[in-house]
Symmetry: C2
Subunit: 119 residues, 2 copies
Amino acid sequence: MARAATTADVFNAIAEGVRRDILHLLSRGERAVNDIVHALGLAQPQVSKHLRVLRAVNLVVVREEGRQRFYRLNPVPLRDVADWAEQYRQFWEQSFDRLDDYLRELQQKETHGPDHRKT
Amino acid sequence: MARAATTADVFNAIAEGVRRDILHLLSRGERAVNDIVHALGLAQPQVSKHLRVLRAVNLVVVREEGRQRFYRLNPVPLRDVADWAEQYRQFWEQSFDRLDDYLRELQQKETHGPDHRKT
DNA sequence: TTGACATATTCCTGTATGGGTATATATTAC
DNA sequence: GTAATATATACCCATACAGGAATATGTCAA
């Protein structure tokens, strides 16, 4: 089997940095494809293709108006990502606490223990 | 260019469901490779390969003991994912509010307007 | 109709995947 | 030393990418 399709789920879709850039841009409001092309300095077909992926996982919504297509962010699927990542918050906060303890400990030694500084 | 390497960053590394499963398992504590193999019902080489990817992006840490290697979760890089996703929280909460408004509006019509129900 | 414009699709190519299987490496036991 | 165990690596294969270039589709204007 190869890697899962980029359209398989939100996690695969957002793995690509360009697509995250597009989402970020769209978070500031609806944009026509050409706007995105110029704002991000990308080639038009590439943008269309990335938008297709984002559409497939429901991260953007299109509104057609004449020959233009306005893309809008649909943030809802990002909750899955946030929920998934947040589930580990306690762990990295613990890590930070441990680091904090460690730094405190170092400082204790620095202040009260023998001085090993070179200078 | 092809898709970015799975080891390119955390976003690419966690795109694969199996790797998320491994992280989840490790969140309950350190595990030897074979433990992971049996807990998740995967083939040993596949587990080793996924662990390699997770190591490359610093999501796990190894401790060697005899012929066993105990892998431990390093949650810190997941902050990047959480931070990225959380930045959109306001947007999906707004979406939810709008949906809420819409549902309220529907109910208004249901209660006070003409009844269009088929039954 | 013809042409300009906006967007999507197709085709190409190099690259990297993830699973399967076999094998290498390292450690422990006998 | 030899075998057993734990893990990592190498190899094969089918798949799917992302970017580039060319082209198709659809819409508006003259």
